[in-house]
Amino acid sequence: MTETKTPARGADRAPIPASWDYAPAPEARDIVKIADRYGLFIGGKLVEPLSRQRYTTLDPSREEPLAEIAQAGKADVAKAVRAARDAYTKTWSKLRPSERAKYLFRIARILQERSRELAVLESLNGGKPIRESRDVDLPLAAAHFFYYAGWADKLEYAFPGRTPRPIGVAGQIIPWNFPLLMLAWKIAPALAAGNTVVLKPAETTPLTALVFCDVVRQAELPPGVVNVVTGDGRTGAELVASDGVDKIAFTGSTEVGKAIQRAVAGSGKRLTLELGGKAANIVFDDAPLDQAVEGIVNGIYFNQGHVCCAGSRLFVQESIADAVITKLKRRMSTLRVGDPLDKNTDVGAINSKTQLDKIRALVESGVAEGAEIYQPPCRLPERGYWFAPTVFTNVAQSYRIAQEEIFGPVLSVLTFRTPEEAVEKANNTPYGLSAGVWTEKGSRILAMAARLRAGVVWANTYNRFDPASPFGGYKESGFGREGGLHGLEPYLRLEPR
């Protein structure tokens, strides 16, 4: 767009453009070599699936196939679990903790060294903007390994009065929104604590996990310590049901989490669940509004809203509602939606057709129930899965868009008058993963933080993550923590001293 205004001052000056458009700034994709087909990573080798079944993984921004992926069956999962058990009993549990640590440090370093390649691949396979994979996913994934590496030989200091022991083989099932980062959240603490793992990446985003297998190879990790089985929910169900698994760690939807909790009932398997959310982001009338608007945008449009802790319910104090909504709409109009590999892109592609359909259905329900929809003018690419950043005003608590997790770039705005009302409304959900509070008043921050039933509370910030910071839910958002000292506990048996 290059409309020009008449120069305001001085005819000698060049005309001032009314707006500047960005030139395309695509990250080169040739740094990534994608194989035509991938096997399963079992016992340190990529092997053909016994199931002989495969499916195609896509680039969601173009709907183009990227590679053929193995659909692991029951026998494949059993084989991976046996490999993990072998590695546990024969090598990993016999290794000195300080040696275990060094393997994890190696992985952290290799992830840093290969971060550009992995960031591009993450954006290709998942649809997320390269700016996010490059600046968030990759640095945090490496940091996670670095953080837990240091714990491996210090476990006896973590739990007073207890002797920590590894559990054995952990089965880990991760989602598609932060594929490599979730892998790091799962594998790093498990290995640091002395366990071996069988990891199942999400059906739509297996590629960075498969390249991670090459990282494992480069680190010369003993075979079988990390095993990766790809496939859809059936593969996950086989892993959950496997007798050889001592612990299940799952990140994903609340619905599947409940099914897993039912499936392991009575088995004695340890379980941690990191499930859905419908976070309240609460803005008080004394908040710094421009900063809050940035936080709101980051809270819901980060990673296309494919974030379990996304600030998907915005509660604005009534007196400033109009001002906040005006600023928010103006800010939304500057969001750049498009090519995930373009370094200027703010909002990338929706991860899959299934997810796009789900978002569309919920947005339609919002319109049908009477909410007012706003989407900034933006041209969406013709191919691929796209959804414009969306905000709903005039939303009632009972609407589906205020109750259900959309997992897309869709914000519902509600209002409140008093702090008590904000707390009441914010907590009125079966979820309890995260919350945001925006106010300049310190005592109010602490009072709100204490009363919000959520595992993470961001005050005057949103969507911050760090390996040292425990993350996890209250209520139906799951149990167990990932990150920090508390993230070790799910992978240890704490025996009386």
């Binding site: 007073p160 009065g161 409940k258 088995s267 425990p470």
Partner: protein, 265 residues
């Protein structure tokens, strides 16, 4: 002249009061008529426990510690009655000492279980433990008193409110303990104790959507089914040991909350 003893009516303990079962039913156990709680009694107890949650979790840790210590005082004063309901004085002594031990944890949990977290950025970041909510306890049969106290004290000191299904086989210890709780300044509704048939009550406790945590110490063949029912609202479920004492028993019914705030002038 021989004096005729004044016997006790063994009732339920709900909301700080001692009602009979709304169903009017009783059981004969351990030589006494004991109230046989109904599903309705259980639902009432959960509702009242939930209402009591705000006050108890909002009380200062120091206050909760003192209330638990007061419970130990009341148990000490009723040693005879408690001893008659379990294996004897030794078990009572251990139960009382256990309550004192847990009482002291109330204001130390945040320091031992919480943390300040060194994140890579200009943020102040800390993690604090908070109570889970209403915890349902299926009490172990043996040791009748010590087992019950070992399961009850940890969620209580952590700030949860509890609904206990007493052991079918040894409910009298639970009734005696309820009478100690009633005089120990424990706010009404924070502890609720139901006697009756476990098989009749436990599935409704496990499936109740307002119960957030479940200790299945006293379950056996029904444990898997109760765990399955508990998944409906993602309950935190443990199968506690009847004679265990550690801060990790408390942690089983604590949520960890992490708070971030930017640092800057």
């Amino acid at each position: 002249m021989r004096r005729v003893q004044v016997r006790k009516t063994h009732k339920l303990f709900i909301g700080g009061a001692f009602p009979r079962s709304e169903s009017g039913r009783t059981l004969v156990v351990e030589g006494a008529n004991v109230a046989r709680a109904s599903r309705k009694d259980l639902r009432d107890a959960v509702r009242i426990a939930r209402q009591a949650g705000a006050g108890w979790s909002g009380a200062t840790a120091y206050n909760r510690g003192q209330v638990l210590y007061r419970l130990a005082e009341m148990m000490e004063a009723r040693r005879g009655a408690l001893a008659a309901a379990c294996r004897g004085k030794d078990e009572v002594d251990r139960a009382i000492d256990r309550v004192v031990w847990y009482a002291g944890w109330a204001d130390k949990l945040a320091q031992v279980i919480g943390s300040a977290n060194a994140v890579a950025g200009p943020y102040f970041n800390f993690t604090v433990p908070e109570p889970t909510g209403v915890v349902g306890i299926v009490a172990p049969a043996e040791p009748a008193l010590l087992g019950l106290v070992s399961r009850l004290a940890p969620p209580l000191v952590g700030g949860n409110t509890v609904v206990v299904i007493a052991s079918d086989a040894h409910p009298i210890a639970a009734v005696e303990l309820a009478e100690c709780v009633a005089t120990a300044d424990v706010p009404p509704g924070v502890v609720n104790i139901l006697t009756g048939l476990r098989g009749e009550l436990a599935p409704w406790l496990a499936g109740h959507m307002d119960v957030a945590g479940l200790d299945l110490a006293g379950a056996d063949g029904d444990a898997a089914e109760l765990e399955r029912l508990g998944a409906e609202n993602v309950k935190r479920i443990v199968r506690g040991k009847a004679d265990e004492q550690s801060p990790y028993e408390i942690a089983a019914f604590l949520e960890l909350k992490t708070v971030w705030h930017p640092v800057g002038f």
